[in-house]
């Protein structure tokens, strides 16, 4: 089946046809691969516990654009918070994408984390061959998953969307999908 996406961009009609079976296939593929990327990264840190992010938020980040914000998390309570939230966040983001639950929320936090990885890894040597890196592409894929609401294809969000809670709280649709 082909659906005509009717839309405008910069005031122009840029409607275009999309073959739905291909779109559904790619949404699931992207979700599973990016989901495993993050789930693996999170589980790795838990399996090798304790995780210490001080080399990243304190050392590597100090001279980068994000340095003034990130170095606040380099010691004390905020470092402990970071040491727990990075692996926990990565694990939950990965799980959310793989099972398609709260997909847009998971993708938002995935993009949020990738922003830090992109600038800090990039400005400490990762941009040696140009500014388009795997971190930026990861960020863009998270944005695409959130935009297209990929969790509704073979995902828990397809079920969550039909619950009375979501029907009664329309803004929840920004978190699922």
């Amino acid at each position: 089946m082909v659906t005509n996406i009717q839309t405008t961009l910069l005031g122009r009609d840029v409607s275009f046809p999309v073959e739905e079976s291909r779109l559904a296939y790619w949404l699931v593929m992207m979700r599973l691969i990016v989901g495993w990327w993050f789930l693996h990264a999170g589980l790795d840190k838990f399996l090798a516990w304790p995780f210490n992010a001080s080399w990243f938020v304190g050392g590597a980040a100090a001279e980068t654009t994000l340095g003034p914000v990130v170095t606040l998390f380099a010691d004390g309570f905020l470092l402990t918070f970071t040491n727990i939230m990075v692996p926990l966040g990565q694990t939950l983001i990965g799980l959310g994408l793989i099972v398609g639950a709260l997909t847009r929320l998971a993708a938002f936090f995935g993009a949020f984390l990738m922003t830090f990885f992109y600038f800090i890894n990039g400005e400490t040597g990762g941009w040696a061959h140009g500014v388009i890196t795997g971190d930026l592409l990861g960020l863009l894929i998270f944005a695409m998953i959130a935009t297209l609401g990929a969790g509704r294809v073979l995902g828990v969000d397809a079920y969550l969307a039909k619950t009375s809670f979501v029907r009664d709280h329309p803004r929840m649709r920004y978190f699922i999908g």
């Binding site: 910069l10 654009t65 500014v131 803004r171």
Partner: protein
């Protein structure tokens, strides 16, 4: 697609333009103005910059912040237009 408000245009288009300037635009400029990218004997491209990475980084970051602001204001101001879910 519903009509965008001025704030949405700033977030979506302004953020997108800054992201494109920081990545594609400055990249093209560096190629056009002759910033050298010699390839070493090992096949590695040596990336020498014309515009400092700090400036480029700030432009890209501002673009991403504007796009994120668009998303957050959308969330706070109205439910999504897609009522099929």
């Amino acid at each position: 697609m519903t009509e965008l408000t001025t704030m949405e245009r700033i977030g979506l288009y302004g953020g997108g333009v800054l992201l494109l300037i920081g990545t594609v635009g400055i990249g093209l400029l560096e190629i056009a103005l002759g910033a050298p990218h010699p390839v070493t004997g090992d096949g590695q491209v040596v990336h020498e910059t014309l515009i400092s990475l700090g400036v480029r980084s700030s432009i890209i970051l501002l673009g991403l912040i504007l796009m994120a602001a668009y998303g957050v204001t959308n969330l706070l101001s109205k439910p999504p237009a897609d009522t099929s879910i």
